[in-house]
C-alpha cells in the first residue's frame, strides 16, 4: 500500500505544525526577539524622524519592518533545528523506510514555519499598530505585507532546512542565526537608503538583496502603493524560496540514504 503525495504531505505537515508548537524554544525567540529589536531600535532612533527628508514622522511606522524582517530570519534556526533533530535522533531513517518521498518532507516541514509565521504577523501588526505605526496603503497594504512576510518565512525556512540537511547538526544551524542578523543590519533596514550619507555603506546596502525585501515591506507603510518596491521585494522572497526548496530537495536525497 502506498500513500498518495497528498496524504504524505498532509500527515507530515501536521507533524511539523504540532512539533513547532510543542517547542517553546522555537516560538519565543521568533516572537520576542524581533519585538525587542523593534522596541529598542525605535526608542533609540526616535529623533531620526527630524532628519531632513525622512519619509515619515512616526518612527514606529518606519521601524516596524525590522520586526517582520528579523522575524522571517528566525525561521532559519527553527526549521534547521527541526530537521537536524530528525537526523540526530535517527528518525530520518524511520521515514526513509516508509514509501515517503523526500521532497514531500521538505515541503511539509515548511508548514510549521508558516503557521508560526501567521502568529508572528498578527503579533507584530498588533504591537506596531498599538505603538502608532500607520499604513499608507491601508488595510489592504497590511495584507500585502503579511503575504510578503509569509513568502520570506517560507524562503528562509527552506534555507534553514537546506543548512540542517547539509550539516546534520543543530549546533551548526544555531551558528547561522547571528550571521543572518549581521546581513540584515548591513542593509537599509535601519535607515532610508537615499538618506545614507556614508557612501561606502550606501553601496553595501544597495548590493545587499535584503534591502529590497525590507524596502518592499516598508513601502506599504510609508509610501502607499509602490509597485516597483513591491515587485523587488516579492522577487527576492519568491526567488529565494524557489532556489532554496530546490537545494533542500536535492540535499534530502543525501540524508534519506536508501537503495
Amino acid at each position: 500500500m502506498n500513500a498518495s503525495f497528498g496524504t504524505q504531505l498532509r500527515l507530515l505537515a501536521r507533524r511539523s505544525v504540532v512539533r513547532t508548537f510543542r517547542d517553546p524554544g522555537s516560538i519565543i525567540p521568533a516572537v520576542a526577539v524581533p519585538l525587542i529589536l523593534f522596541v529598542v531600535v525605535s526608542a533609540g532612533l526616535e529623533k531620526a524622524t527630524h532628519v531632513k527628508g525622512f519619509p515619515t514622522d512616526v518612527i514606529w511606522t518606519f521601524t516596524l519592518t525590522i520586526a517582520f524582517a528579523n522575524g522571517a530570519m528566525v525561521t532559519v534556526a527553527n526549521t534547521g533545528a527541526a530537521i537536524a533533530t530528525d537526523i540526530e535522533h535517527g528518525f530520518i531513517n524511520r521515514l526513509a523506510l516508509t514509501p515517503m518521498k523526500g521532497f514531500v518532507l521538505v515541503a511539509a516541514q515548511l508548514a510549521g514555519a508558516l503557521v508560526l509565521g501567521l502568529i508572528q504577523a498578527v503579533v507584530f501588526l498588533g504591537v506596531g499598530l498599538a505603538a502608532g505605526a500607520r499604513f499608507e496603503a491601508g488595510a489592504l497594504g497590511a495584507l500585502v505585507l503579511v503575504l510578503l512576510f509569509l513568502t520570506s518565512v517560507a524562503a528562509f525556512g527552506a534555507f534553514g532546512i537546506f543548512v540542517g540537511l547539509r550539516t546534520g547538526s543543530g549546533q551548526a544551524v544555531q551558528a547561522i542565526a547571528p550571521l543572518m542578523t549581521v546581513f540584515l543590519f548591513l542593509s537599509s533596514v535601519n535607515f532610508p537608503r537615499n538618506l545614507i550619507t556614508a557612501d561606502w555603506f550606501k553601496w553595501v546596502a544597495t548590493v545587499n538583496p535584503l534591502s529590497y525585501l525590507v524596502e518592499g515591506m516598508r513601502s506599504v507603510l510609508i509610501t502607499g502603493w509602490d509597485k516597483q518596491a513591491l515587485a523587488y521585494g516579492f522577487a527576492f522572497a519568491g526567488g529565494l524560496l524557489i532556489l532554496m526548496i530546490a537545494a533542500a530537495a536535492m540535499s534530502i536525497q543525501g540524508r534519506l540514504v536508501r537503495t
Partner: protein, 257 residues
C-alpha cells in the same frame, strides 16, 4: 613550596593566560566581532543623524567608535570570568588556590591578563575605525582620558566576572555573565546623544552609569569634554564595588575547599 610574592603570582597567572590566548587567538573573536559589527553597521547606516540639531559633532564614526570601544573593553573583561571558570573545571584553580599564598593575587593576575586582551582588541578595532573615516579630534590628554575610561571599564568587567566565577566555580554561570552586560550596554544612548533621547529610554539611560562613560568618552574624542568627573567618579565607585565582590568570591571559593 617557597613563598611567592603577590606580584609574582599575579605575573604568573597573567602570563599563563596570555600564553593560552596566543595558542588559540580565536578566543578574542567574539569580543571583537560584535563591537566591530555594530561600529560598521551603525556608523554606516546612521551617519545622517549628525545633521540633527544639538548632535555636537559631524563625525558619526567617532561617535560610534566610543560605543564599540567600550563594548570591546567590557567584553574582554567579562572573558576573565570565562577563563576562570575553565580553570576551575580543569582543576588548575584547585592547584593554584592551595599553593598561592595570596589568593587576591590570582584575581589581579586575571585583571592584568584581561587588560592585555582588551589592549589587543582595541589595537585591532581602532585602525579599522580609522579606515572607516573616524578622526580623533581631542587633545592628547583627552584621548588618554578616553582610553583610561575604557581601561577602567575593562577592569570592572574582569573583577565582576571573576567574582561570579569564584562564587559559582563552574561553567554554569557563563551565560549569566553576558546578559547583564548586554542590557547595560544597550539601555544607553547608542544611536544619539543623551540629550536626543526621549521617553522611557531617556529615563533609563539617565540612571545607567554606562551612559556617563559614553558621554564622557564621546566628549573626549570630539575635543569637547563633558561629564568627566561623573564618568570617572562612577567608574571609581564601580571599581570599588566590584573589587569587594571579587574578594568575597575568593573567600567563598576558599571556604568550599
Amino acid at each position: 613550596m617557597r613563598h611567592a610574592t603577590f606580584w609574582s603570582i599575579t605575573r604568573y597567572v597573567a602570563w599563563r593566560n596570555l600564553r593560552i590566548l596566543l595558542r588559540s587567538p580565536t578566543l578574542l573573536v567574539p569580543a571583537l566581532l560584535l563591537p566591530l559589527f555594530f561600529l560598521i553597521a551603525f556608523a554606516g547606516a546612521l551617519s545622517n543623524l549628525t545633521n540633527l540639531p544639538g548632535f555636537g559633532t559631524k563625525d558619526y564614526t567617532a561617535f560610534q567608535y566610543v560605543f564599540a570601544l567600550m563594548q570591546s573593553a567590557g567584553f574582554t573583561g567579562a572573558m576573565g570570568g570565562f577563563a576562570m571558570a575553565e580553570d576551575f573545571e580543569s582543576g588548575f584553580m584547585d592547584r593554584l588556590m592551595t599553593t598561592a599564598t595570596s589568593r587576591a593575587a590570582i584575581i589581579s593576575g586575571y585583571v592584568l591578563a584581561m587588560l592585555a586582551r582588551g589592549l589587543i582588541a582595541v589595537a585591532v578595532l581602532t585602525p579599522i575605525a580609522f579606515a572607516f573615516g573616524m578622526r580623533m579630534h581631542g587633545s592628547v590628554l583627552e584621548i588618554v582620558g578616553l582610553f583610561g575610561l575604557a581601561a577602567l571599564l575593562n577592569i570592572v568587567a574582569t573583577l565582576w566576572s571573576t567574582g561570579v566565577a569564584m562564587h559559582v566555580r563552574s561553567f554554569a554561570a557563563a551565560g549569566g555573565m553576558f546578559l547583564p552586560l548586554f542590557l547595560v550596554l544597550f539601555l544607553a544612548p547608542v544611536f544619539v546623544p543623551l540629550s536626543s533621547l526621549t521617553g522611557w529610554l531617556h529615563a533609563v539611560a539617565v540612571v545607567n552609569p554606562f551612559t556617563r562613560l559614553l558621554e564622557a568618552g564621546r566628549g573626549f574624542i570630539t575635543g569637547q569634554p563633558k561629564d568627566v568627573l561623573w564618568a570617572f567618579g562612577a567608574l571609581a565607585a564601580m571599581v570599588a564595588l566590584s573589587t569587594i565582590w571579587a574578594l568575597r568570591g575568593v573567600r567563598s571559593a576558599a571556604r568550599a575547599g
